[in-house]
């Protein structure tokens, strides 16, 4: 890790953050994001996602470990890193007392966008984010979706090499989320930006990210493409429903090359296979050869829910209690209050 890390990359080595000496929010995470990649950090609340983003974006000093962003050491040159990245926080950070346009003009000035480009960039982003009609309205009058889009625009007004999105679609409805991602993916395509996104929406990580790291209790428990992660579970699930119950069907289909496991279940046969789609014709052919009549065959790809369950032993739930940061703040306050008596 260091100067040799390529432009646009994010490399973390044993990043650790401990609050108040006791709350271990992030426990030695290491990963490498390739230039131009959309990389997802998936985990429940309190898993350490925001803490990791804060360390990578030079907002928080790690307790130990190192990171480079766009080839620059975050700890050694935080200001250089800030110039090269854009950040969209999970909470609203736009100034409600400024108009949308003024918010973007301010961001452009703070990121030293050349003066002669400010107007065209701001106008272009306002139009693109579909807030052009509301450009001269105070941001506090914007809807949640508009504010999110304004946040995104402020984060990319300087065309950063790396964009950090921390739970960017939190609180948006599915339509708003889809719209937000459409802009992110378009911009990433045009500017070859690397996108690092934290989310606890499984379908978001599954559908939008090229690679995903699953983080739980401050530790990366699994990483890879969504497809690879699902494949590690043993692949797809093919359910074969015979016209007449057949107790030997599971035994028969277990012989089909590519089937990892076959289990009889409620009159059907449930098969785990590495590439279900390609295997379905062979499964059907095996049934035909054995004279087994079929009522139906269905194919299901395992979801990241099951991946999370596999690697953490727990169901993925949104409500996991307090985040590590909240816990640290709470512990600090409780200590403060107890200070006089301890």
């Amino acid at each position: 890790m260091g100067a040799k890390d390529p432009a646009g990359s994010i490399v973390a080595g044993e990043l650790t953050k401990t609050y108040n000496g006791t709350v271990r929010a992030v426990r030695g995470v290491s990963f490498a994001v390739r230039p131009g990649e959309v990389y997802g950090f998936l985990g429940p609340n309190g898993a350490g996602k925001t803490t990791t983003v804060s360390m990578l974006s030079a907002g928080l000093r790690p307790t130990s470990g190192r990171a480079t962003v766009d080839g620059v050491d975050v700890g050694a040159e935080p200001d250089t890193v800030k110039r090269r990245i854009g950040v969209v926080f999970q909470e609203s950070t736009a100034d409600g007392d400024l108009t949308g346009r003024e918010n973007l003009e301010l961001a452009a000035a703070l990121y030293s966008v050349p003066r002669n480009e400010v107007r065209s960039r701001v106008d272009g982003l306002l139009e693109r984010m579909q807030i052009g009609d509301a450009a001269d309205r105070l941001a506090k009058t914007y809807s949640g979706g508009m504010r999110r889009r304004l946040e995104l625009a402020a984060g990319i007004v300087h065309s950063p090499r790396v964009l950090f999105l921390d739970e960017p679609t939190l609180g948006l409805d599915p339509q708003g989320r889809a719209g937000f991602w459409k802009y992110v993916l378009e911009l990433r395509q045009e500017h070859q930006m690397t996108v690092f996104v934290t989310t606890h929406y499984l379908e978001e990580a599954d559908g939008m990210c090229e690679r995903v790291a699953i983080i739980d209790h401050g530790t990366i428990v699994a990483a890879g493409t969504p497809g690879e992660l699902k494949d590690r579970l043993g692949g797809d699930i093919v359910t074969v429903r015979p016209s007449v119950p057949n107790p030997s069907l599971a035994e028969l289909l277990a012989q089909v090359p590519g089937v990892v496991a076959a289990v009889a279940q409620d009159g059907s046969c449930r098969l785990k296979c590495t590439n279900g789609e390609a295997l379905v014709p062979e499964i059907v052919a095996a049934c035909v050869r054995a004279g087994v009549g079929l009522q139906g065959v269905s194919l299901k790809r395992p979801s990241l829910d099951e991946v999370f369950l596999e690697f953490t032993g727990r169901e993925f739930r949104e409500d996991e209690g307090l985040s590590a940061t909240d816990r640290a703040v709470m512990v600090g306050r409780v200590r403060q209050q107890l200070g006089g008596r301890r």
Binding site: V87, T93, L106, A109, L110, S112
Partner: protein, 276 residues
């Protein structure tokens, strides 16, 4: 850095301009003090048979109201800086400070812009007080009588005194704003500072009736230093009552301001640096 500072200053001024209630409210304080407090508490009436007898008590000012009006200009400048630090806390609570801190903007720009924009109100109000106080005389009320001929140098000194005083207190309150997280804590700390500083200054008390020990304390008070400059430049008889020229008092005030700027810059840098 200049561009960042100007952009952030513009933000502060836009926000100020969009808050007319705050501007109107800030105007009420000096108007009420001049029209009610100053008119009622006119010590000069105690010497109505020979008003000149009171002149030594107010260090050469022609009337108590004139002395009071100069003090009031300093007092109003200080109170107008009270909210400047609270805005830092609200910006932190609403996430705006997090956004700004995530950009390459330096802590000096962030502090400097708030200081620059924060001077508009106190300096404006201080001069409003002086202008209004002068205007009251011809209306048959107690008014500010300027007995010295105020030239360019004197006008410059008056402006400098008000600006430096405002810079000093704005820096102090910004330092507190960058250091505490809750508005309640901020106002508790600010009130704990503001009132003692005002009550140990010579802004409102006739100097001549102050006990000796209080004169010693008051003579180092930054509000006293600033209003002394005003009184020296506005009243022809004042020079006889003060040991130093206006320039010396300005230097003393500058020392206070430099210390507060240093403190506020350090605290702003600490508050905006990557968190530990």
């Amino acid at each position: 850095m200049i561009r960042e500072t100007l952009a952030l200053t513009r933000r502060e001024l836009l926000r100020l301009g969009r808050n007319p209630q705050a501007i109107v409210t800030s105007l009420l304080l000096p108007i009420l003090y001049l029209l009610l407090f100053g008119q009622a508490l006119n010590f000069g009436r105690l010497f109505s048979s020979n008003p000149a007898e009171f002149v030594p008590y107010v260090n050469g000012a022609p009337t108590y109201f004139s002395y009071f009006a100069a003090g009031m200009a300093g007092f109003v400048a200080v109170t107008a800086t009270l909210f400047i630090g609270a805005n830092v806390i609200f910006d932190r609570l609403f996430g705006v400070l997090k956004r700004i801190a995530s950009t390459p903007a330096s802590a000096i720009s962030i502090f400097g812009s708030r200081l620059l924009a924060g001077l508009v109100q106190p300096v404006g109000l201080a001069f409003l007080v002086l202008g209004l106080a002068v205007a009251l005389g011809p209306l048959g009320l107690s008014g500010l009588h300027v007995t010295a001929s105020v030239g360019v140098v004197a006008a410059g000194e008056i402006l400098l005194a008000i600006v430096i005083l405002s810079v000093m207190f704005a820096s102090l309150f910004l330092a507190i704003g960058f250091s505490v997280e809750q508005p309640q804590t901020y106002f508790a700390v600010v009130n704990a500072i503001n009132l003692p500083v005002l009550l140990t200054s010579a802004a409102l008390y006739p100097w001549g009736i102050l006990p000796g020990w209080m004169q010693v304390i008051a003579s180092y008070n930054p509000i006293t230093l600033a209003v002394t400059v005003l009184r020296l430049d506005l009243f022809s008889g004042a020079a006889a009552y003060y040991p130093y020229s206006a320039g010396i008092y300005l230097l003393g005030l500058l020392g206070w301001a430099a210390a507060m700027i240093l403190l506020a810059t350090l605290l702003a840098r600490r508050a905006l640096a990557p968190r530990q």
